[in-house]
Symmetry: C2
């Protein structure tokens, strides 16, 4: 059906109409006092969402731009970086570090698994000469739906003395993520995720410890330069012409987030993800991340039942029910499909999705008790956990 598509992918995510209408307004001058007032609100509310006292930088870019903005302002050629890889986006950190001339060591796990804090602790304990300068890690791994225990991992990194650089692209807004409280040194995120606006903006917050490393960086970025952005944030400005329409939309979205409350928003995502997981199990589906403790609240990866293919499930969901879910990436392509529950998602969306998935699986010949998914979902949602 035309204009009825509902995105259940890990980004872009659904956008409120009030945000879309704001984005549709004629652009205003980026050096006007009107835009400066918008930026002032945006920068203030970003600090609220990121739960930080530090400045939050905003880039006109994809989330990957913010990842580059993190590493290209920290790494000198030959620096040693430890990348904790639990999926594609963890691996992206390693690639970016290598592109800056770093020597990268990886700790990798199977798809769906997370980093064992003890393994990290052991590796860092071996680094007696403190050669490892930066540890990169992923909070919610978009390619698998697994989520690291960032709080514990960052405390281990802090103890060692290296800098923790965290991908919070799909976690900020969806999962508790407290850079100041947890000692995350650099945290990045993207707009088309929990922020409920279309793609095109990305964010970075760095603490004083990270700034000290920045000051030693021989060739920091220009477009993504931290010093230029800090100066601009403090003047309610931007160093270059930003995506003014998206920022006007972000201003509306941030007010919605503040109204809901960041803790409530995290809780809503937890409640949705856990109820969805229970519902999926109730219709005999296997989850890539088996342990609820390791599950992202933003994205859930599901294995197709025997004899039914991922492309068939995706095609039927889209054709019959106008719901888009994501395929797996790279080696997980056609081995999993991924349902996003990120950002502007309500209980009704979950009910529709689980119901539509049941109808899809019925059509494709899966064996399960029709209605069990929706029943479990509603029961779990009502528990309110």
């Amino acid at each position: 059906m035309k204009d009825k598509t509902f995105l259940m992918i890990p980004g872009p995510t659904p956008v409120p109409e009030s945000v879309l209408l704001e984005i549709a307004k004629h652009p205003i001058g980026h050096r006007s006092s009107e835009f400066s007032s918008i930026l002032e609100e945006v920068y203030t509310n970003l600090k609220y969402v990121f739960q930080t006292e530090n400045d939050v930088f905003m880039f006109t870019s994809s989330g990957t731009g913010a990842m580059c903005a993190a590493l290209e302002n920290l790494i000198n050629e030959g620096d040693k970086v430890l990348s904790l890889v639990i999926g594609n986006f963890g691996n992206r950190w390693a690639k970016i570090a290598e592109s800056r001339g770093a020597i990268v060591e990886k700790i990798e796990v199977e798809a769906g698994d997370v980093i064992n804090p003890e393994v990290l602790k052991k590796r860092l304990a071996e680094d007696v000469n403190k050669e490892i300068k930066i540890v990169t890690l992923t909070h919610s791994e978009t390619s698998t739906g697994a989520a690291n225990d960032i709080k514990t991992l960052c405390s281990i990194i802090k103890e060692h003395g290296a800098l923790s650089v965290v991908d919070g692209v799909t976690s900020v807004c969806a999962m508790p993520c407290k850079p100041d409280e947890w000692g995350i040194d650099v945290l990045v995120s993207g707009s088309q995720k929990g922020f409920m606006i279309p793609p095109g903006l990305a964010f970075l917050v760095a603490n004083e410890k990270a700034w000290k490393v920045y000051e030693q960086c021989k060739h920091p970025g220009f477009y993504f330069d931290w010093a230029a952005h800090r100066k601009s944030v403090r003047a309610n400005s931007t160093p270059f012409t930003p995506a003014v329409n998206l920022i006007a939309g972000l201003n509306v979205a941030l007010k919605m987030i503040k109204e809901e409350g960041i803790d409530n928003m995290n809780a809503r995502h937890r409640r949705h993800a856990m109820a969805l997981r229970a519902a999926l199990r109730a219709i005999n589906l296997k989850l890539l991340v088996e342990n609820d403790e390791n599950a992202s609240y933003a994205i859930t990866s599901i294995l197709p039942p025997d004899g039914i293919t991922v492309p068939d499930i995706r095609k039927t969901l889209q054709k019959d029910y106008d719901i888009v879910v994501a395929n797996g990436q790279n080696q997980l392509k056609d081995r999993i499909f991924r349902m996003g529950t990120l950002g502007f998602v309500c209980d009704r969306d979950l009910i529709a999705s689980v119901g539509a998935l049941e109808a899809t699986l019925l059509k494709l010949g899966h064996k399960f008790e029709l209605g069990a998914g929706v029943k479990t979902l509603i029961t779990e949602l009502n528990k309110g956990n």
Copy 2:
């Protein structure tokens, strides 16, 4: 008056409603076949606008992002770069080159002047050991409204053997700019200019000669990496999640440009800029760029009359007539004001602006013949030159 603001700044520029409404639609998945079809049209039409057979890369970024995308994929530490500086944006090339560790030499001129081809020819002739690897230059200098003779300058650079890297941020769409025909090795532009969409996208086209230099680059960019973008363009895709809403808007805008015809669009800008210049002179205003031959078709810089300040002119134009013109930048602040005639601008907009400027100057006590500006403007527009 609320919602009546008309932007006559060099960017953001006015955006057609059909484009705004397209941007306001719910985002679609960036890996969907629907979006791939949009990208196919966009990439094809970008080649038309850039008048090139080479791939045109699209970045989710400000125009400055594309400038970084040019130099960070070409420069190794210690490379020699010659920057031809006719204003702030020419100087930005130099800063970006320095941020990559290049040794930068500048040829600078007074604000409003352009590069004398003979001066460049002489300097390059002295470089007998071909130490200069890259020459950066600006087509239409947004900070002054002067425009270099890119065709001649690039032919001189080509003869020497260095790479020409051209800022076409405010020139592409507004002025003839033919990278293939003129031997421009790398050309960049931005979306919020002649492309008639809001800021957030930027473009780059590189020829085979530039690719050979890219291949020698030790640490090319990651977010802005050319190889990743070439691979994506050829698959009607993007390497990272792009600003899908802005791209959907761009698709509409590019079709409008194609319908008008790029030569006609250039001619419209020339006609507008030249008529505006004549009209401004008719009301006793002095132009920063005195010679029409050196004038940008996108932006005109005007000196305030004696005893009248730039802030007063800008304030009155905005308050009484809802027209926003730009101040000068840096050392030109309050010494000039700048009127943009870039992108989605029609004859009526020019008439309104010149009329409103006359009314403003009358109020502020400037001595001139009321009506002379609009009279000259209409006469010149009617000549159709």
